[in-house]
Symmetry: C2
Subunit: 431 residues, 2 copies
């Protein structure tokens, strides 16, 4: 398949929330207490909510930046591409990157919206609903067929969470962002019957639980003085852990329609993982009493899990060991792992080097995403306007040039030292 003929649907990108998300959807009585975006004297913009301050850090919005400027320094909204927070600019960037549709994870509330879990459940639920309504009815609805809608969970209450899943599903939203490990966050684990209402709601509404790396809040660092490269290398490990935890769990057996996406988990480790779970079953199920009704764990995995990759030539090479119906591509705009705007070039090279058939390529680039997330962009956009080539043609003249920092920080940031301070803080907090 020619590069320009690819159709790309990404199941993992990110919104840097604009300041007005709560204006239209949060009840008036909560407006004064809502999180707000504050511009600070050092030029950075941070979200403030009660005692929490969340900066735009963690390599969150570097699309279009030279690598030399990657780091963990806080940033101002004036330093990042408008496509991070403005849906009209986002679609232009998507066009320039050849991307038909995206699914957008939240940023400042956290992947499981834990920031919204206050002691006042009514207020918390109002925040979750307001965010979801803004996301579905404003952001996604602005460009039908361009966004797979995704809802935040009411992470603090399984019944409320189930109700919210049903509420947004009625509006066409079939993806829920969730944590890779509720136990680490202080909630019952995946093994507790507490979550049954959520599993039931997800199953009833064909909603995928999308579990993003980093969503447990646990840093995968062996030691407080491990270099940052160690953490980056190990980022998917918590998601490997989640995959194992869920695969061997009771919900997987009790809810045959349950669907889970391992977002930004990569795919190259999946064949090894499947070999290991089958061997674990073969060697130990006599005493661990696991029973999948005659199936192997690897078969059960393929019934329930979608695996996702940004760039992962090994995973593409081993696509049939993973399961060709279980792989979806990710763009990761505007994070530092994104290849925007050159992802089509990179992806096409990998498809070519692995001699991927057109049929396999269609599954990984868009068909699997459409089926797993009950999403049909072609109801809105003709196929011939959905290709990399057609979208880029529509984006002609859009500025995608690499832009360096637009302002000088008041104090220079040593990125390595900033990482080390975070590691020390995270380690101290875990003790």
């Amino acid at each position: 398949m020619q590069r320009d003929d690819l159709i790309l649907i990404s199941v993992d990108d990110h919104i840097i929330e604009p300041p007005d998300i709560f204006v239209n959807h949060l009840p008036q009585r909560y407006q004064d207490d809502a999180p707000r975006l504050v511009h600070r004297d050092d030029g950075s913009d941070v979200w403030q909510f009660r005692d929490n301050t969340v900066g735009n850090a963690a390599l969150n919005a570097v699309a279009g930046r030279p690598k030399e400027e990657y780091g963990l320094d806080p940033q101002g909204m004036d330093e990042i591409r408008p496509g991070c927070y403005d849906v009209h600019e986002r679609v232009k960037d998507m066009n320039a990157g050849g991307v038909l549709a995206q699914m957008n994870f939240p940023s400042f509330p956290g992947f499981s919206a834990r920031m919204f879990a206050t002691e006042d459940s009514d207020f918390s639920l109002a925040l979750v609903r307001a965010y979801n309504d803004w996301h579905i009815d404003e952001w996604c609805a602005a460009y039908p067929g361009r966004f797979i809608p995704m809802a935040l969970p009411a992470i603090w209450d399984a019944e409320l969470c189930a109700a919210e899943v049903r509420r947004v599903a009625a509006k066409g939203c079939h993806s829920l962002t969730f944590t890779e490990n509720p136990a680490v966050l202080g909630y019952p684990s995946f093994h507790h019957e507490y979550w049954n209402p959520l599993w039931r709601a997800l199953s009833d509404t064909d909603t995928v639980m999308s579990v993003h790396i980093g969503s447990s809040g646990r840093l995968a660092i062996p030691a407080v003085d491990s270099p940052p490269d160690v953490m980056i290398t190990l980022q998917p490990m918590n998601l490997v852990s989640a995959a194992a935890d869920l695969l061997w769990s009771r919900p997987i057996k009790d809810f045959p329609d349950l669907k889970i996406a391992l977002s930004e988990g990569g795919t190259g480790w999946i064949p090894y993982f499947l070999e290991r779970v089958d061997r674990t079953f073969e060697m130990h199920s006599t005493w661990t009493l696991q029973d999948f009704g005659g199936k192997l764990p690897s078969e059960v995995f393929r019934e329930h899990f979608l695996t996702c990759f940004i760039t992962d030539s090994l995973g593409v090479k081993l696509r049939h060991d993973i399961g060709i119906d279980n792989i979806a591509w990710e763009g990761d705009y505007p994070h530092s792992d994104s290849l925007w705007p050159d992802a089509p070039e990179q992806l096409h090279n990998v498809l070519e080097s692995c001699s991927v058939s057109d049929s396999d390529a269609r599954k990984m680039t868009h068909e699997n995403a459409m089926r797993w997330y009950s999403f049909d962009p072609f109801a809105h956009i003709p196929r011939e306007q959905a290709t990399v080539g057609a979208l880029r043609k529509a984006a002609e003249g859009h500025d995608v040039s690499i832009r360096s920092r637009s302002r000088q920080l008041t104090e220079p940031v040593d990125k390595l030292e900033a990482f080390r301070a975070r590691a020390r803080a995270a380690t101290a907090a875990a003790q």
Copy 2:
């Protein structure tokens, strides 16, 4: 290659220590304080040392048992194969399993002999030396060419540890068992200059630091109520973490001759890992300031790391993505992952199904182990007597029949409940 023509050297098996290990090598003044094997009323045998009691649990000695009896129940020495603790019986079992040579990790002291780290450094060092002398001069020396000697570390003191490495190297021992994460054990991390004397001693003496899964003492369980299958699936994760921690570390750059074996880590995940570290380098080294002198992390990995597998057809299939000089086979006798006495059959099937050349097979089955561990069995045993076929012929008549439990436990053990109790205890201890 025919199955019977294979020559098998295993770089990972285990001793269940016999009661007399300290008799000949510990100074008289310490004899009364030495760890001792105690037979209990319930029929089990446990090691007692000060406040510590270590049972023969954790699936440690099930060779020859039906799978239905795997579990975590404590065992008596009369319930396990004599080959677990008697070197003459061990060699018979090795012959029956077609294994020319083994490297044997310790059991009750822990993989890093942390049990011996008392407040009395002299006493601790006497224990470590006594164990090492017993292991090298009695166990291994009883059958020249049949055992790759391995030393315990003086984990509590880098200088003493370095001295012990040099002392045993002079006796021909070029393997040191060590922890996958000293920081978790309360010692300085791999990144601290504290360990420099050890790195220097290992480099000077061509000694491999053999890091076994489980050697940090950290259980890889997402939640206290995760099923045991989750822990078993995730066992190699701490070793993935160690591989990342060491690969990006300063010692790897400062000590070009440093060698590390990832014992029982498996190999199927290595190609993914290498792709990930190279991409991490490509995307982030500008701000993390990593510098391997023009090499890629994957190249540096192959200079320093030996990867090991028991049965892992994916790893054999991807052997050239790993590095054909970086793979060694493991027997894991007498643990539950061992395929004894049928490992040659299983391994040969994998080699055949992956169309492995004779040259590649020789590297993975014995040549790599010999080179990495400076071990030459053929100085003692002619090649024609070293093959699977020849060894098995020598073992004709040796009883390898599956034997069930030889005694009734005084109280039946619910293995699942035993696991859960351990998980609760480990979680409580970590909090």
